[in-house]
């Protein structure tokens, strides 16, 4: 085999090496390092660099290099390189295009009309000059690196934008939650007896929604609705809210306005979650149509409304009120069960019992209901009660 043929074969296999390096599944810096080795190995250049063009800063950034003073590379002027042929190897000679000692040849990297960067190489270790074949090979290689670098920067731009969006979204969520807490605190401040009611209802509701298999976004909407369902109570006078004696019919009507007021308040807010307003508005509706404010029944009540209604009632029953003592957990569950089909939904009740049962058994790492129940509750009694209800409601 002649020396020329051997060299040609070596060059061809170098191109194959390049292709493999570029398409490998390695992370970008490993990929580009492999590409760099392929190039320096192909041309026997003991020094070299790949610089990428940062458009916004109008400067070249060193992606990888060997043997050049970093400060020299920082000083490379992109303008001068842009006037040279696209991906065309350029022998420096005495040309003033670059002021870096030791750079013998360069190739400005372009993809279509986009300047991507530059490849710099020293002379060969052997001292022999770059041949015409070398220049042709370098031209092909320059095209390939330009595309690889460009793809990477496109990808980085995209991930930057994604990251920015994610950050904005997180910020927005943060603001939402802060606002919600402020609202809930305002409700609590008005009514000493309902302290943390909104928070617990939010917790119980999301626990049920999660067990029902809702996605994270919808669960968050459920949480928000739980937090805000009684926000309309802000419009009710403190005296009425904290009244110890039974309500008059007028007073009852006044109290009942709160779910519509909650709806009116939340309707002013553009939530990223659907149905928050609906859930808040209808949390006192009943399946038999005897609830308020719209006396909706059956199909008109969404799962979210049904969840909120049950969670709200359960917490109301298990908390102290001005006009009555709190119920123990067993009594409250019995009460819920009594009202199945007329007021509460069988499926939601079943799921609620399942979550609570799992929490009691320690099957959920972060229980949402159990921590807020009466500390004196007999969990084994509750558990066997839940098991019986689960069995009954699961039966076809």
């Amino acid at each position: 085999m002649s020396a020329e043929l051997k060299k040609a074969l070596y060059n061809i296999s170098a191109l194959a090496d390049l292709g493999q390096a570029i398409t490998s599944e390695s992370v970008f810096h490993e990929k580009i390092q492999s590409v760099f080795y392929v190039i320096t190995g192909t041309f026997l250049a003991n020094r070299g660099a790949i610089l990428s063009y940062d458009k916004s800063a109008d400067r070249l950034i060193t992606v990888t290099q060997k043997g050049f003073p970093p400060a020299d590379l920082d000083r490379v002027d992109p303008e001068k390189l842009m006037s040279l042929g696209k991906n065309e190897p350029f022998l420096i000679g005495d040309s003033p295009v670059l002021a870096i000692a030791g750079v013998k040849i360069l190739a400005p990297l372009w993809v279509r009309d986009e300047f991507i960067g530059v490849l710099l190489l020293s002379g060969k270790l052997t001292g022999s000059p770059y041949t015409q074949e070398d220049l042709e090979l370098l031209n092909v290689i320059a095209h390939q690196i330009a595309i690889a670098l460009n793809n990477h920067s496109l990808f980085m731009d995209l991930s930057d934008k994604l990251e920015e969006n994610r950050r904005l979204y997180e910020e927005m969520r943060h603001i939402y939650h802060g606002t919600l807490q402020a609202f809930a605190a305002a409700i609590d401040a008005k009514d000493a007896y309902t302290q943390n009611h909104s928070y617990r209802v939010a917790k119980y509701s999301t626990a049920i929604a999660r067990e029902l298999g809702w996605n994270e976004h919808d669960i968050e909407g459920m949480y928000v609705a739980g937090y805000l369902h009684d926000v309309g109570k802000l419009a009710i006078s403190n005296d009425l809210l904290n009244k110890v004696t039974p309500f008059t019919p007028e007073e009852r009507a006044e109290i009942r306005k709160h779910s519509t007021t909650s709806h009116n308040i939340t309707s002013k807010i553009k939530f990223p979650w659907q149905n928050v307003q609906d859930m808040v508005w209808h949390h006192h509706e009943r399946l038999d149509g005897c609830g308020y404010p719209e006396a909706l029944a059956q199909e008109s009540l969404s799962d979210g409304v049904r969840i909120l209604s049950l969670a709200d009632s359960f917490d109301a029953m298990t908390s102290q009120r001005p006009y009555r003592k709190k119920m123990d957990v067993q009594t409250a569950i019995t009460e819920l069960k009594k009202c199945l089909e007329s007021q509460f939904d069988n499926k939601i009740m079943l799921v609620f019992c399942k979550v609570l049962e799992k929490e009691i058994k320690g099957e959920l790492p972060e229980p949402d209901i159990l921590p807020y129940l009466d500390r004196d509750s007999d969990l084994s009694v509750i558990s066997s009660m839940l098991e019986a209800i689960i069995q009954e409601l699961s039966a076809p």
Partner: protein, 120 residues
């Protein structure tokens, strides 16, 4: 492509380091060869024998890595001996003109002998 994971072992014989690359010198894992030689050079060793009995093939990445070792040794006026080379390796080094920067021996013992007394 099926490749054997590249690895390097070494030992010190007198004032010479013998390096044993194992596997195909074709990717970043070959950097360990440069590192291994660098460790000896850092300790003041100027004579390195690379025994290629377990490395039959090399590509442009491997050549680049070898270039670094040659350069590092050149800077300290050291010597690199290559032994037990496959025909492919020897042909490649010759074709690229790298052979002038190394002393080639058929077997490791010849290289060690040469480094000890200056001749085989």
């Amino acid at each position: 492509m099926k490749t054997v994971q590249f690895s390097v072992t070494s030992r010190l014989v007198g004032d010479a380091a013998v390096i044993y690359p194992k596997g195909y010198l074709n990717n970043l894992s070959g950097e360990s060869l440069v590192k291994e030689c660098g460790i000896y050079i850092g300790k003041g060793i100027t004579k390195i024998v690379v025994n290629f009995s377990e490395t039959d093939l090399i590509n442009s990445i491997g050549i680049s890595l070898l270039l670094q070792i040659i350069e590092d040794l050149k800077n300290i006026k050291g010597t690199i001996c290559c032994t037990n080379m496959s025909k492919f390796l020897q042909d490649t080094f010759e074709m690229l003109g790298l052979i002038q920067y190394m002393v080639v021996f058929p077997v490791e013992s010849d290289a060690l002998q040469y480094l000890k007394v200056g001749k085989v």
